[in-house]
């Protein structure tokens, strides 16, 4: 009896924090999503008007599609870059000191806020920015490229820049746990470098890839500020839909969109976890 009490007490602080800062706000959002709103006020109610509006509006589908598109393309790029970087660090760099040094180098951009990292792309990519000027001075192009900034390109570029490390870290971590003698055993069995990659490293790195995927997908799905800044408010995703509603004080509608987004992301994660068992990594 005494022991169970102590166990409960030990678990209590985290439980209280999670209840107060995670569970309660979500419950609140779910409740508010059923409330009603006029142009100037919101009132407690239990009606499905917010959801009806959301599911009947073609804008919702377009915006959700755009969000999935951002998530998918960002995922593909961060995975390709993240896997390559992690592979290089884990298998090509022999000395542990160099490994740690290079790994820390990857984290240096994170010493500044992500808004600053994002904004610093703007002078680079703009019409008269460094990229365009350089390309013109090399004679590659005659007129400045318009699609470099305030486009899907710049949004995805920023996403990839911001979130690749979230892919590198878990993949690197998983790769470091691969016993090096397995690679020798594969070589002994006549596997080429590419075969070792396909039959050994990728399967064994799957849990890390999955954790990185969850990070990147949830971050991109929930983002609104990157899309706003990098698209010059010309592109939309679900996050921006919610932030616009909030700006217009349409809390119930924002809450309904948030609930739908939350469910979408949870379903995506549930599907991903079906494929790979990440418990070993935790």
């Amino acid at each position: 009896m005494h022991r169970t009490l102590i166990t409960w007490l030990q678990a209590a602080p985290l439980t209280v924090i999670l209840l107060g800062f995670l569970v309660a706000p979500i419950i609140m959002i779910v409740i508010v999503s059923f409330w009603g709103a006029t142009e100037f006020s919101i009132y407690p109610d239990f009606q499905f008007e917010n959801y009806q509006f959301l599911f009947n509006s073609p804008v919702t589908y377009k915006v959700f599609f755009a969000t999935f598109k951002y998530a998918f393309i960002t995922w593909a790029f961060t995975l390709a870059i993240g896997f390559t970087v992690a592979y290089f660090l884990a298998f090509h760099v022999r000395s542990q000191t160099t490994q740690i040094a290079l790994f820390l180098l990857c984290t240096i951009p994170f010493w500044t806020s992500n808004i600053i990292r994002m904004i610093s792309w703007i002078p680079f990519l703009g019409r008269n920015g460094i990229a365009n000027q350089t390309l013109m001075s090399w004679g590659v192009i005659d007129a400045p490229l318009d699609w470099l900034l305030y486009s899907d390109f710049s949004v995805i570029l920023a996403f990839v820049h911001l979130y690749t490390l979230f892919m590198v870290v878990p993949i690197f971590n998983t790769m470091m746990r691969i016993d090096k003698s397995l690679l020798e055993a594969a070589r002994d069995a006549g596997a080429s470098g590419f075969q070792t990659l396909c039959h050994l490293i990728i399967p064994l790195t799957k849990p890390g890839i999955m954790i990185g995927t969850i990070f990147v997908v949830t971050l991109v799905m929930g983002d609104f500020i990157t899309v706003r800044f990098m698209s010059g408010s010309q592109k939309a995703n679900v996050g921006r839909l919610i932030s616009n509603d909030i700006a217009l004080l349409q809390y119930p509608s924002a809450a309904a969109t948030a609930v739908v987004l939350l469910c979408t992301v949870l379903i995506m994660i549930a599907i991903m976890l079906r494929f790979v068992n990440i418990r070993k990594e935790l």
Binding site: L182, E184, A186, A189, G190, A191, S192
Partner: protein, 324 residues
């Protein structure tokens, strides 16, 4: 069954920067033998094995297998296969897929490679576990799988890197009998690296004792044990006393020492009951320690205790002169 695949090391050398791990080895391993490479840790035995396997580059010299210089070939092209110390089984593949891995890399179709894998699993008596994952096996079972996986490439030489060191003593004795049986059945050369002299004595047709990057002595297990060439070999093999006699070192087997009325006076320093024998250590007046393995019955006829004065004797013919 004998195959014609002799393995020859010619001036084989391995350097890491300034340190020499293997110095100018010259040796011919006759085909079809069970060879034990024996030595203390850091003596270069593992580097030698890994060079033969192709997992370590050769600094100098060459490795010739069946008349072909394989020193710079890829591991899988040499006709060798390696069994790793911690087995290195692929954790995400079933036992059968582990064994069939190299055939899969060659692009052999599934029924054929599974057929061959099953045959080898039969050989190591692991058929019932073919669908399990390596985690679900005991250490001994994992080792059998690792053996089957190494053998599926039909190697001319199988290289075993301390294969028994991860097993408990009871299993170790059983597995070494198993290894010997399989080697006899297949008739291929096994090169087994170990630091345990009892393991080497039990298994080896040919024993190669290494120390400080060179071969100290090579020969049949019995020859090496009975006629150690150097003081190092005598001490490392155990069961020998190394004593100075007339200015040179001689080896004397511990079981050749007896208690007698006339002989070398000494004081007992320790008595250890070992079952069939009693191991008695005594210090001579010259300060040399001598170990005597006395038959248990004889010893307890007139037992000695630490501190007792005894006289040690031996047959002169049992003394074996060592090279400096």
């Amino acid at each position: 069954m004998r195959t014609g695949y002799d393995l020859e090391l010619v001036h084989l050398t391995k350097r890491y920067g300034d340190t020499v791990a293997v110095r100018d080895l010259n040796h011919i391993f006759n085909a079809g033998r069970y060879v034990c490479l024996l030595g203390p840790s850091g003596c270069g035995k593992s580097s030698t094995l890994r060079m033969i396997a192709g997992h370590e580059s050769v600094s100098d010299g060459s490795i010739v297998l069946d008349g072909l210089d394989v020193s710079h070939l890829a591991p899988a092209k040499r006709g060798t296969a390696m069994m790793f110390q911690n087995y290195a089984l692929f954790p995400h593949l079933s036992v059968r897929d582990n064994v069939a891995f190299s055939l899969r890399m060659k692009g052999v179709d599934k029924p054929t490679r599974y057929g061959q894998a099953n045959e080898l699993l039969e050989l190591v008596d692991m058929n019932d576990y073919a669908d399990r994952l390596p985690d679900q096996l005991s250490g001994g079972q994992q080792q059998r799988v690792a053996l089957a996986r190494a053998l599926i490439t039909k190697p001319k030489v199988l290289l075993l890197d301390e294969p028994l060191s991860a097993l408990d003593p009871f299993l170790r004795v059983r597995m070494r009998a198993e290894l010997k049986r399989i080697q006899r059945e297949l008739g291929i050369t096994f090169i087994h690296v170990t630091h345990g002299q009892d393991e080497a004595l039990a298994l080896a047709d040919v024993m190669v004792v290494m120390n400080n990057a060179v071969i100290e002595q090579a020969g049949s297990a019995r020859d090496v044990f009975n006629a150690p060439r150097t003081e190092f070999v005598a001490r490392f093999m155990g069961g020998h006393n190394v004593i100075s006699l007339d200015g040179s070192k001689v080896a004397l087997r511990a079981d050749a020492v007896t208690l007698a009325d006339n002989g070398l006076p000494a004081t007992v320093t320790g008595v250890e009951f070992q079952g069939a024998h009693v191991a008695m250590t005594a210090t001579t007046e010259g300060g040399e320690e001598i170990l005597a393995l006395l038959p248990e019955e004889t010893f307890y006829h007139s037992p000695k205790n630490p501190g007792d004065a005894v006289t040690l004797a031996w047959d002169e013919g049992r003394l074996h002169r060592l090279q400096a």
